[in-house]
Amino acid sequence: MKGKKIVSVALSAALLGSAVGMLAGCGESKGDKMVYWVFDRDMAQQVTDYYATEERNLGYEIEVETVPLEQMLQRLDNSLRTGTNLPDVVALEAETFKKYIDNGAQSLEPLDDLMDLTSNMYDYTVDAATGPDGHLYALATNVTPGVFAYRRSMAKAVFGTDDPVEVQKHFDTWEHFIESARILRDFHGENNEYPEGIKVISSYMDIGKVFCGNRSEGWVDDNGNLTIDPSLYEGEYSMMEVAKMLQNEELSHETTSGDGTWYSDVWDNKVFGYFQATWGINTNLENNCSDSSGENSSYGDWAVIEGPASYFEGGTYHVVIKGTKWLDEAKEFVKFFSTDETYMKNWAKAHGDFMNNKQYMQDLVTDESANNEFLGGQNPYSIFISQAEKINGEIITRYDSEINGYYEAWATNYAEGKAEAQTIDDAITQFKAMVEASGLDISIA
């Protein structure tokens, strides 16, 4: 019985291990490093690239931990509740940061003394970061207007031009968007390069974020009642109807956002474009524009336009956790990432990002080094700016990520023609029921 011997060896090792573990588990001391949580690897990189550099010589270390977005909230909630393992500075994402701002007094340090730095920032970021008690609790690093990114080669083949100004004319309203989508669908190319036609977008529910970001009313009014913006369900080109058209007429590739195929469509020659916010151009498109073997690539074959609606998606806000021992350093850190010119411009150029400073971004419009190779040399900043001006920050609530999801789920069911959602009214009723069942503190009118 050879197995027995192995087992007994393993067992004694385990016993020894547990003894060692008990000793090791006890002493946990932190304090010589400022801890920073961030949800994106590239953003983690910016700390070493721009902030904690040798020439700046901070005199202390910054421990950067990359926490995937999906886990960030849970971890932060747990840490805040238990008071253990707390970071000092956290990068939060716009869709979910509001709940911490709402409870700002309990969990965050007010940043009111940084208020005079906000003159050049987009106002909505300051409003959104101000808690119900009037204190400023966060500063936004970037502003995230959404655009429509499309494939130049396809635009040239189908519409005869890849010039953003011209292409925008085909996509400037939802009506035109759908019309162009039909043309794309029926296009197969002279030599049948596109045997299945071209799908205008990969996942039709990607329009969800466009519509939700384009609302004029937030999900919850001042009295805590659920409100649904009319653009989501009223009219010929409401979110519901557009989704249904895209689905029924096979105008999209019918993937799910974030699925493998959704990503592979970035280089696979099947899909015309993506609704992406500024950062998504880099994170979602550029990072995935070729397959693992490197044989297929769509690099340089992209351009951005305003598309049918202005919207925003995401945005990075820095908060300082209450009770930090690094208060001054933390504020300095937050300040740097929201105001430093060199950092903001360089980061924007390197990542195609759009930073929270009107002046710097205006400078980039005429800065040739801000031309984006991935976008075929296009300088996207004038488009970003025009989209950013239209962002309505009042619609941001702490419930956005959940309720957006619920609404998209029922818009999907309506688009798919499910029995429970044959009409828009049915779908809305079901959506309301879903909000009610979620256990969120919202009353349904």
Binding site: G3, K4, I6, V7, S8, A10, L11, A13, A14, L15, G17, S18, G21, G25, E28, R41, E65, T66, V67, P68, L69, E70, Q71, Q74, R75, N78, S79, R81, T82, T84, N85, G258, D259, G260, T261, Y263, S264, D268, T283, N284, N287, N288, D291, S292, S293, E295, N296
Partner: protein, 312 residues
């Protein structure tokens, strides 16, 4: 088993003094009419086909996963395949670029599952031993209590457990994942069964006469004799603890303390799902250690299931 040489005739075989069971079987077979033998053959074939089909059902998903791990994302999108492709190394390289803390998580899981299993083994055997080696008033009642505890669903105390862990300051440590292993009614039941079948009172009596203390007796005389049962239970314990997902999900917050199952969750939710091939490889890597363990110890594991006859 000594097989019957083909050259022997029936008579020769019959003349041998002692017949093995197999030989009798063979002889008996030849006496059976052809029709019955054909039927027998058909039934056997059907049984084998069923068994192979079920084996395919069990293995196919794993095989598809492995094949995907060797294919490029383009290929995966084009359709499924049963034949591995040549992109394993490419996928592995992309996986490394993801910077997933695979090794760290692996050793975390090893640490937790070994510690908790070690505790579980020692204290479960100790508890079980007390039921066969000693008599005291109310012992039967205590045993019934343990049997009842076996039936109490542990997961239901989830919220309270979470609060307790937080209150004790054990949040984001491994303690709450390891210590509760001391009180596993299932393991106690398992060892009680084993003791009932194999315990020899004489050995303990002898040790006692030699002046060995009760603890010493248990540690040095009784515990080592449990090796086969320990082995079986240990592997099941390690696998069970290894696969625990909800506990770490609730209680661990630092990335460097993540366990192996938490990694696979990352794979689905995060942007890692971009590269289908690399993702398939990553999922495959998360089950690889278990496949290796299983290849080595499947005998113990299956025996454990047969004896324990239970699910967790």
């Amino acid at each position: 088993m000594n097989e019957q040489p083909v050259t022997m005739t029936n008579e020769e075989v019959l003349m041998q003094e002692s017949l093995t069971e197999a030989q009798i079987h063979k002889l008996a077979k030849k006496q059976v009419p052809l029709k019955k033998r054909v039927k027998h053959g058909v039934v056997t074939t059907v049984i084998y086909i069923l068994c192979v089909l079920m084996a395919i059902v069990c293995l196919l998903p794993l095989w598809l996963l492995f094949v995907d791990a060797t294919r490029a994302t383009t290929q995966i999108n084009q359709g499924m395949s049963l034949i591995p492709s040549k992109y394993l190394v490419t996928n592995f390289n992309s996986l490394i670029e993801f910077n997933l803390p695979i090794l760290q998580a692996f050793f975390n899981s090893v640490f937790i599952s070994f510690c908790s299993t070690a505790l579980s083994l020692y204290f479960s055997t100790l508890t079980a031993y007390s039921f066969v080696a000693y008599r005291y008033k109310g012992q039967k009642a205590v045993w019934s209590v343990i049997l009842i505890l076996m039936m109490i669903p542990g997961q239901l105390s989830m919220i309270g457990f979470y609060k307790l862990v937080v209150d004790l300051g054990m949040y984001d440590t491994y303690w709450p994942l390891i210590i509760p292993a001391v009180a596993g009614p299932g393991a106690v039941f398992f060892f009680k069964q084993y003791f009932d079948a194999n315990f020899s009172k004489e050995m303990v009596e002898a040790a006692r006469i030699d002046g060995s203390s009760e603890f010493r007796t248990f540690n040095l005389v009784v515990f080592p004799t449990l090796a086969p049962a320990l082995a079986t239970n240990a592997i099941m314990g390690v696998v069970g603890s290894w696969n625990n997902y909800m506990g770490p999900l609730m209680l661990i917050s630092s990335t460097e303390k993540y366990t192996f199952p938490m990694l696979s969750q990352l794979l689905k939710t995060d942007r890692y799902s971009t590269d289908l091939g690399a993702m398939a490889l990553a999922v495959f890597l998360t089950i690889l250690p278990l496949l290796v363990v299983y290849a080595c110890f499947s005998r113990f594991i299956i025996r454990g299931v047969a004896i324990g006859g239970g699910k967790e």
